[in-house]
Symmetry: C2
Subunit: 376 residues, 2 copies
């Protein structure tokens, strides 16, 4: 008998982008996907079967779990199902994603069915977006930018009280209120955002701090919005940093340095450029401006303390990374964020993020919104 | 040397409820959690370290990845880190959740470090909620019910046009609009919902069909709302079925049967009752009303085609299941949905879902909203 390897995913499409990509079908619960020779199949509970028949990708055959379970056996487990699937397809080894669930793999192996975790991406072509994927991401980023313009206007139109805090309609305007308004607007457009960053002052010095409490004038406010389309599953991702009124000189200087680093990076991006080189060029530019990356005397990381960018698609963070660790060339059709940032506990943080698609001889920026710090 | 087993999770807290439960810290990217003897630790990128120090559970020690990586080695992988962690803690075998990533487990094993997937729940006590967890879920369900009342009022206040479709302000009122309004309201309250079900007529006959197009009068509209608190991570879950104007007799009959089945189930629920028995009692009651579970002549599943309920907590679907497959007793502190339903392609679907906490001698219903079908 020939050695015949197949491919297998066991996950929920709502959290597994590979499964959503391959099957074109979203569901809250676990689903199995396999490739055996030319056949591609989705195996679902009878509860999802009818819906999957009409909604799933036409490249994929839809099966009910019942078709792979013995009618007279009480065992309805994934293991029992996969043992039957293996036999029926004549597969002698399953190649699976690196995050395939260990217990299921061990059970299959115990039944004499080899399971091999593939290193790296399970569908490497997910990094190279098709025209229709690019359109989905462009649309997500357009809506993201709409929300960002809204946030800017809310900060611009706020009053400042005697203590230096922003107010709207007589109420103190907080980071939580700004976040909730942004996310509410996105929901109206059919996009889900949570953990939106609206962080002011010291909170902005931690890149993933969501931000809490009253928004203060004269301090940098990092606004990082990353919603997912409820219909397509594609993400947008965008960051701006604002300041109500005048910023401290060091903040203004950091803002200009970050903005310049982003421009330098976007000018370098094209098919064939080494991803790490793009990161390093941005980092060097900021270092030359006097913003070294390292630690404060207290050991707190400061400077440019994250990668320059990451791929965006059906996952908010996917390949290719634009970081010192990725020496590979960028390719036409990659969609990556370009988000230099500078952070310091003494003055806060600045991050400016656009989303671009790599083209043969450059990149196309999905964002058109200007980068301005001080809002009067 | 003594045989010393530890526990290990490698995942992102934003999708791994066990990790959020153990560490009390949310982050979009991968985090490691371990237990070695009495020590419990979270290991994070330097980017998250500062925030985790202030936000994570006080029972857990927070480490930066750098503390477990060799300063002079270019290898910054989870594998390199875990090899060092294993050595430093003197652990001889790691017990991991059943969905631990296969590739990482295989790499550890290849380095001579045993990894064993534990069957079942990694933290079984997650099924038994503490008072503070119950308060979080009760609050989530309160907000969910607020959104449900809003949905009911929107249907009640709609006009009906000559074709029998609902209108608001001169515009046709669609399932998509109702969904987006519900999710927008929840966002304003700090809750994230997506895939909210607002399914009318035939679409309602598929339990997970989200619902599309104009809402028709005289047809059942299943509204299933399940938002997650952005601050606590706990979920609410609630379903009502409405009908604008008069329903067909079979729909009215199904509604009454489902409502009665839910009442029977809630009366049975108490610490010690077998979960499967509760499901079966609800199923039998509906069967006795003439709603058998099976297939239409075309092979489409109809009747009561899902489990009666599921646990709700940091996951929307968690243990204990209230289904024929769970013969175990319910325990005091379990929080479960009670959601009988009936489905048929000819007339649609009815589902009514409340969320209850199991007590010593009964259950407490988090929901107070009445169950009414026809809205005039």
């Amino acid at each position: 008998m020939k050695n015949r390897s197949g491919r297998l995913i066991a996950a929920s499409p709502s959290v597994c982008a590979d499964l959503l990509y391959a099957g074109g079908f979203n569901a809250p619960d676990g689903v199995l996907y396999f490739e055996a020779g030319r056949e591609k199949g989705l195996i679902l509970s009878p509860l999802e079967y009818g819906r999957a028949k009409s909604e799933a990708s036409k490249k994929v055959r839809v099966f009910s779990r019942e078709e792979f379970l013995d009618a007279d056996s009480p065992d309805r487990s994934d293991l029992a199902l996969l043992v039957n699937l293996t036999e029926r397809t004549g597969i002698s080894c399953w190649n699976v994603p690196s995050d395939f669930p260990l217990a299921l793999a061990d059970s299959l192996r115990a039944r004499g069915i080899p399971v091999k975790a593939l290193p790296g991406a399970f569908f490497p072509k997910r990094e190279v977006k098709t025209a229709s994927e690019i359109a989905n991401i462009a649309e997500a980023e357009r809506v993201t930018e709409e929300a960002m313009c809204y946030a800017r206007d809310r900060i611009r139109e706020a009053k400042v009280n005697a203590k230096g805090f922003l107010r709207h309609g007589g109420r103190i305007f907080t980071c939580e209120m700004l976040r909730s308004e942004i996310e509410g607007l996105l929901k109206e457009r059919g996009y889900t955002a949570s953990q939106t960053i609206t962080a002011c002052g010291w909170n902005a010095s931690q890149p993933h701090n969501l931000g809490w409490g009253p928004i203060a004038a004269g301090k940098p406010i990092v606004v990082d919005i990353f919603p997912r389309s409820d219909s397509t599953g594609y993400w947008g991702d965008m960051t701006r940093t604002f300041c109500k009124g005048f910023a401290e000189p060091v903040v203004r200087k950091a803002f200009l340095s970050v903005r310049k680093a982003g421009e330098i990076a976007r000018k370098m991006i094209r098919a064939g450029v080494c991803a790490a080189e793009v990161h390093l060029a941005a980092a060097e530019s900021m270092a030359a401006d006097g913003f070294q990356t390292g630690h404060t005397a207290d050991g707190i990381p400061c400077g440019f303390i994250h990668g320059l960018g990451h791929g965006v698609g059906l996952e908010i963070h996917e390949g290719p990374r634009v970081s010192p660790l990725n020496r590979k060339p960028l390719r036409k059709g990659n969609v990556v964020s370009v988000e230099p940032g500078l952070y310091h506990p003494a003055w806060g943080g600045i991050r400016l993020e656009d989303l671009v698609v790599v083209t043969q001889d450059g990149c196309r920026n999905f964002n058109t919104m200007e980068k301005e710090l001080e809002l009067e």
